[in-house]
Amino acid sequence: MSTPGQSRRDFLLNSVSGLGAAWVATHYSAIIDAAEYAEQAARSGQPAKFAFFTPEQATEVEAMAAQIIPTDATPGAREARVINFIDRALVTFEEEAKPQYIQGLKELETQTKQQFPNATKFSALTSEQQIAVLTAMEKSPFFNLVRTHTVTGFFASPAHGGNANKAGWKLVSYNDSLNHKPPFGYYDALPEVGR
């Protein structure tokens, strides 16, 4: 995310450059916390500090995200560090969704124990069991909120903590150079119809 020669402060300011000064002033510490976290996590490969979630909550939400966009031959929500995006969103843009996460994680626990009475937590289930739990919840507001946040974090700019190494953009062959020259695709490169 941060490039050599670019100062930390520049990076942080760039990452919020679309925000109004007043908004940034109000939320600046939270933005720094979340961005610091994102960078630490990226460096160490281990979660360092969340701005909102406890480590236990983060593990549960990340397990959900990893079922929504699973890892196969290409990176999924876990490698894209979508959990960073969600954590950061909950202390900035989406503060009002905090109670929905607290309540939703209780629903997840209830649903987990209902289907698998011996289970300790959702993230400890096998993948098949997790899919069964989420399938039972897939119409719930909480599941849909996590889905929206997971997809958004996977495809939003890496400046927001997710889409690490542009994993989401690579999956869909999105080139973020913001400067393109025609022909753009296969059909407009055909000489007979391209112009």
């Binding site: 989401g168 062959s173 913001l178 393109h180 407009d188 119809v193």
Partner: protein
């Protein structure tokens, strides 16, 4: 920038800084008149356009300061109902709300109305239950102003001789934008069907023009501000010129609640809330109302007085009526090879073969088909996949991968008949953030409009199949519940009993009130209103300036 005190009686106060307001500000201030422009929204990145974000998430979640559109769930609450028997519920109508108005974020389509669109009532004939009427202006009268608008704003396009395209006296100032892969597929399909494809005229410059940079095809286009100033908005074309005259002040976060009148029935100025919601009265000799086809009638209805009990300029009772919101239809498809249509402007190509009303089809109506594939990454992930694909899990990820950049859409812009019952008025219960009655929209399209939409839905499927699509889908048609294309609510006409303004945009009832925006459109055209609004504005300004200079403004 020039600043006027509210107690200074300026020559013109202009309400709104968008497609029409920006032109009025520039034309009047360069003619030497003192002008105050009141804009409800903020500055956006006016004068520092390079700071417009291309970050999809930030653009979707703007701070108040960075908002470019009105907020129907917040400050600009509005309501919607199908008909008078229903109780209106929360609406989603939204419009450009920033210096430059909707032109800051629009796709930029800049089609002229065709000559016969100004007289369809007499050529097509009356349609029962509708308010179809001829315009008091002809295409021939407006043509020079279309040309002026195209050259002063900066429109990219190709001049084509076709009965389906308005004749032009001059070429476009810059060449057309890239056709894109979706446009190339249009050509493949159209060749089989015998239809013709043209580059759509668009208010985005394909090469540098008037000191502005050419479009870099970034792809973060409609809905975003343009960071290279290639989109020919009022904010980068008209308003900077107006400011430099030293005769024009633009005041942002200025929300007008009333146009004030005196005992003789003339405007004296306007009352607005400043950013701190403090009421201010700006004195003015004349008022120009360019607040868009929905806010313009609302403000007139809010400006009730003993002399104007049904709202200002409303002795006809038609203020707010004949609302046309902006109907469309279309289809989407997947193709074998990648299109990468996320690059470039929203649409490069159009099919105009069905622009006319054809009596053989059995309904009034026509429209234009546009090729597009606009899918920004978050939007694609959340709602861009073909119907029936998994919403999460392995199947979802597989679809994300397989469909990415293989999709195109056909989006058709379709006629909507003016109906007296479709209208903007004041909600009796809901208030906006300033405590004023919220806008209430009542709208159900005419049966012919639904037939026209279905016709274009079928045509969309037809061209996608002819182009060789692997899979085609099309949602059932439905009419609009609110849009940036709202028109018709202060129609122009020669008869004060059936129209709100005369052919020079002067309110029949109020000699020093001029209304210039989409509200004046008598018929809706093919739902591409901006270029006609701009041409009308240049023409209105011309006539106002001529009359004002010889002291005959109130006789226009």
């Amino acid at each position: 920038m020039k600043q006027f005190t509210p107690s200074t009686e300026v020559d013109f106060v202009i309400i709104g800084s968008g497609a029409a307001g920006g032109i009025m500000a520039k034309q009047l201030s360069t003619a030497g008149f003192k002008v105050v422009v009141l804009e409800q929204g903020g500055w956006g990145k006016y004068g520092k356009e390079q700071e417009y974000t291309k970050d999809e998430w930030l653009n979707d979640n703007p701070s108040l300061e960075d908002r470019l559109m009105s907020d129907p769930s917040g400050r600009q609450r509005n309501t919607f109902r199908r008909n008078d028997k229903e109780k209106a519920t929360a609406g989603t109508h939204s419009y450009g709300c920033v210096v430059g108005g909707g032109t800051v974020t629009y796709g930029g389509s800049s089609w002229r109305h065709l000559p016969w669109e100004f007289k369809e009532a007499s050529t097509v004939g009356a349609i029962a239950g509708t308010g179809m009427a001829d315009w008091p202006v002809t295409y021939e009268e407006l043509e020079p102003y279309y040309t002026q608008a195209e050259w002063e704003m900066g429109i990219a396009g190709e001049r084509v001789n076709s009965r389906f395209i308005a004749p032009m006296s001059k070429d476009y100032p810059v060449p057309p934008m890239p056709l894109k892969a979706s446009g190339a597929l249009f050509k493949i399909g159209a060749a089989k069907l015998g239809w013709s494809v043209v580059h759509g005229p668009i208010a985005i410059i394909s090469k540098s023009y008037q000191g502005r940079s050419a479009c870099v095809n970034c792809g973060m286009c409609s809905g975003f501000g343009c960071h290279v100033k290639a989109r020919s908005s009022s904010a980068v074309t008209m308003l900077p010129i107006a400011e430099r005259t030293g005769n024009c002040e633009i005041r942002v976060r200025s929300y007008v609640r009333e146009i004030s009148t005196d005992s003789t029935g003339k405007c004296t100025g306007v009352v607005y809330f400043d950013k701190d919601k403090k009421e201010i009265f700006q004195k003015a000799k004349n008022v120009i109302l360019s607040a868009n086809g929905s806010e313009t009638p609302r403000l007139l209805l809010l400006s009730k007085s003993a002399r104007f009990p049904d709202g200002l300029a409303n002795s006809s009772g038609v203020v707010g009526r004949y609302l046309m919101l902006g109907n469309g239809a279309g289809a989407s498809a997947l193709f074998e090879h990648p299109l990468n249509d996320y690059k470039g402007v929203v649409t490069g190509a159009g099919i105009v073969d069905f622009v006319e009303t054809d009596p053989k089809r059995g309904f009034y109506g026509g429209g234009r088909m546009t090729a597009r594939g606009f899918d920004t990454p978050i939007s694609y992930g959340l709602r861009g996949l073909s119907p029936g694909t998994a919403r999460w899990g392995a199947g979802y990820k597989k679809a994300l991968l397989e469909e990415a950049n293989h999709k195109m859409a056909v989006s058709c812009f379709v006629t909507q008949l003016p109906l007296e019952t479709n209208r903007v008025d004041l909600d009796p219960d809901v208030k906006d953030d300033w405590g004023l009655p919220a806008m209430r929209i009542t709208s159900t399209s005419h049966p012919d409009d639904f037939k026209a939409m279905e016709f274009f839905r079928q045509k969309s499927i037809e061209i996608l199949e002819a182009a060789g699509a692997k899979r085609v889908w099309a949602n059932p048609v439905n009419d609009s519940r609110g849009s940036a294309h709202n028109r018709g609510t202060c129609r122009m006409g020669n008869d004060p009993k059936t129209s709100v303004v005369n052919k020079f945009h002067r309110a029949h009832d109020v000699p020093n009130l001029f209304i210039i925006d989409g509200s004046n459109l008598v018929t809706g055209g093919r739902n591409h209103p901006t270029m006609t609004i701009q041409a009308l504005a240049f023409r209105a300004a011309d006539n106002i300036i001529k009359a004002a200079k010889v002291g005959q403004l109130t006789r226009l």
